[in-house]
Symmetry: C2
Subunit: 350 residues, 2 copies
C-alpha cells in the first residue's frame, strides 16, 4: 500500500513541506513532469531547492523500459544518487516515476524486472501527484512498461509510491478527450473487476464506489465542474484499489496487444477495445456507448485495418500472455473460450 495519502483541493501547495524530511545531504529531489506541462503555470509551483531538477517526460507513447533505463542512467551519471523522485502527470508519468525510483537502486535493466516480485531492493523515495484521473497508477503496485519482448509491469512490494498527493485542482483544464479516455480506464477497471471471477468483498466495495462516482461524472452530470474533478480523482483511487485486490479483464488484455504493436496509449486503447466487447460485458458496454455519445467523444475505429498476419499474431501473443486477466474474466478454462481465431476476429473489429 501507499504509505501516505493526502487528499484535498490545494494540497499541491504542501509539496515542499511534505518532501522536506526526505531530502538528504546534497542529493537533489527530481521532479518528473508530464511534457504537457512545459511552459504551463504548474511548473512554476514546483518547490525547487539546491540541485533539484525538473525533467520532462515525453509520454506521447506508452512508457518503455529503454526510456526508464536512460533516465536512471543519466541521473546516476549527473548526481550519483538522488533524494527522491516526484512524478507529476498522468498514468504514464506515474509509472515512469515509480520505475525510475526502482532503477536507481536495482542493477541491470528495468526489462529484467518485468513480472511479479522480481524487484529485490526498495527504490529511492517516490511521490506521485496525478494530474489526470482514471488509471489508478497512483495506488497500484505495478508500473506498466513496454520492453523488448513484452508489455508488463514491474509488480512488487517496492513499486507503490511512498506518498501520493491527490489534489483535484491540478486535474482541472485537462483536454476533454484525454480526460474522458483516462476516466474510462477507471470505468473499465470497475466493470472488469466486478464481473471477474477473482472478486471479493474488498475489491467489490471499492469497485462499486468507483463505478458510482464515474456515473455521477459521466452519466448524471451535464457539465464539467469542480465536483467532477473531485469525484473522478476519488474514482481513480478506488478503482485502483479494486483491481489491486482482484484483476482487470478482457479490454485490458486486448488493448495491451494494441499498445505493444502500435504504441496506442492505454486510455484510448481501452476505449477502442471495450467498444466492441458487448458480448462479454453487455451492460457495461451499453453504458459506455451512452457516455461516449453524451460527452461527444470520438472513439477511433478501424485502427487495425491493413495489418499483416504477422502483426496480428504479435498482438495475439502479447494478449494471450496476460493469463491472470483472461482467467479473471473467463475462469480457469479461458483458453478453451478465447481461442486464437476468436481473438483474431476481435482484433480485426478494432
Amino acid at each position: 500500500m501507499v504509505g501516505y495519502i493526502i487528499y484535498g483541493r490545494g494540497s499541491f501547495n504542501q509539496l515542499d513541506e511534505i518532501i522536506m524530511p526526505y531530502r538528504s545531504d546534497e542529493k537533489p529531489m527530481i521532479f518528473l513532469v508530464d511534457h504537457f506541462f512545459q511552459n504551463k503555470p504548474l511548473v512554476t509551483r514546483i518547490p525547487l531547492r539546491g540541485r533539484d531538477k525538473i525533467l520532462f517526460a515525453d509520454v506521447t507513447y506508452e512508457p518503455k523500459t529503454s526510456q526508464v533505463d536512460n533516465f536512471a542512467r543519466e541521473l546516476k551519471e549527473e548526481f550519483g544518487s538522488i533524494s527522491g523522485i516526484v512524478g507529476i502527470g498522468g498514468g504514464s508519468t506515474m509509472d515512469l516515476a515509480k520505475a525510475i525510483s526502482l532503477m536507481m537502486t536495482n542493477v541491470g535493466s528495468s526489462a529484467d524486472y518485468q513480472g511479479w516480485d522480481l524487484v529485490k531492493q526498495p527504490g529511492v523515495y517516490k511521490v506521485g501527484i496525478p494530474t489526470l484521473s482514471g488509471t489508478g497508477a497512483e495506488v497500484s503496485r505495478t508500473c506498466v512498461l513496454t520492453g523488448p519482448t513484452k508489455k508488463l509491469g514491474m509488480n512488487s512490494d517496492f513499486t507503490p509510491f511512498d506518498q501520493i498527493i491527490l489534489d483535484p485542482e491540478v486535474t482541472a483544464n485537462a483536454p476533454e478527450n484525454q480526460r474522458f479516455y483516462t476516466g474510462m480506464d477507471c470505468y473499465i477497471h470497475c466493470i472488469e473487476s466486478l464481473n471477474g471471477t477473482y472478486l471479493n468483498e474488498f475489491s467489490k466495495s471499492y469497485g462499486e464506489k468507483a463505478l458510482e462516482l464515474c456515473r455521477k461524472v459521466f452519466v448524471e452530470r451535464n457539465e464539467w465542474n469542480d465536483e467532477s474533478d473531485d469525484q473522478l480523482m476519488m474514482a481513480s483511487y478506488a478503482g485502483g484499489m479494486s483491481i489491486a485486490y482482484s484483476q482487470v479483464g478482457i479490454a485490458h488484455a486486448i488493448s495491451y496487444g494494441l499498445s505493444y504493436l502500435l504504441g496506442t496509449k492505454h486510455g484510448i486503447g481501452n476505449c477502442i477495445v471495450f467498444d466492441k466487447l458487448e458480448e462479454f460485458y453487455p451492460e457495461g458496454v451499453r453504458e459506455f456507448k451512452y457516455m461516449v455519445q453524451k460527452n461527444k467523444i470520438d472513439v477511433p475505429q478501424k485502427i487495425t485495418g491493413g495489418l499483416t498476419d504477422e502483426q496480428f499474431d504479435t498482438m495475439i501473443n502479447v494478449s494471450l500472455g496476460m493469463k491472470p486477466l483472461w482467467e479473471n474474466a473467463l475462469g480457469k478454462d479461458w483458453e478453451k473460450i478465447m481461442t486464437r481465431a476468436r481473438l483474431r476476429n476481435l482484433y480485426e473489429q478494432l
Copy 2:
C-alpha cells in the same frame, strides 16, 4: 496508512508465512489475544515458534495507559526486545497491541504520548487481526487509551499497524449483542463523518460505502450469514478510512466522558449516547432505533442516574476537551451551541 492489507476468508492461515520475514535472531513474536478467546480453538491456530508467547488481554474495560505500560515493562524484563506483536481481538486489543508496540521503543509512559504526533520512534513490527468488526481500529492512526488525566489516543504516523489481516471467518460466532454494539460504532462513525463540517470527497466516498454495507447487514438482511461477516468487516475498514480523513462527532465526544468516568466500553457507550441524539442526527438516530428493534438488542438506559454533580462535571470536562470532534459536528462556533448546561442535560438523559 497500514503498509500491507490482506483481505479474505481463511487468510488467518497465512499468519505464519506473513510474519516470518520479520522474526529476528532469538527475539520472540508476541501474540496479544482478547481474553474472550481463552480456551477457544482460535488460540490453537496461532503459529508459535521458539520463545514466542501468547498474552491474553483483559478487555473488560477500555484500555488504560497503566495496562500498556505494564505489558511493555514485563516484555522488556522477560525478553529485552521482541520481534513484533500481533494483536488478535476487538478494538481494545487492536489499540493495546499498537500502544505496546510503540512503548517497546519509546521511553517513559504511554500517558506521555496521549495527543497528536508526540511519538518520536517507530514501534516494533505490529500486526492487527480484528475478530470483531466496526471500530476501524485496524486502520486508524490512533490507539485510544484512558490515562491519569484524559481519555485520548497516541495519534501519530508510527501508530498504524504494519500489516493487517482481514479474515471474516474469525469474526463468525461473536456474541450477538457485542457484535451489534461494535457494528454500530461503524454506523455512528459514518453518520458523524458524513454530517460533519470536515467532510471531503475522500472521506465521503468511504463513509457512504461503509454506511451502505452497514445497512445491508443490519437493515436489509433478516438473518446473519457469512456475507454479513464479509460486509461488516469491509464496512469497518471503510468507516475507519472515512474518519481518518475527517473526524467523528457528538456521540463519540459524549461517550468518551462516559467511558472515562464509568469505564463504559466504547461500542455500547456510543449506542447509549447516539440513542438520545435525534436533535443532531435525526435520520441516523431513527434508523439506529429501527436497527436496535429489528436486531432485538437492548440499549441500556438510565446509567447516569444517581451520579454526583462532581461526576457530571468530570464527564463534561472530558467531553468538551474533544475540540476537533465538536468542531466537526457543530462548526467553528460549537462552544456557543454546546454549553455546559446543555451537555449536562444530555448526560442526564443517558
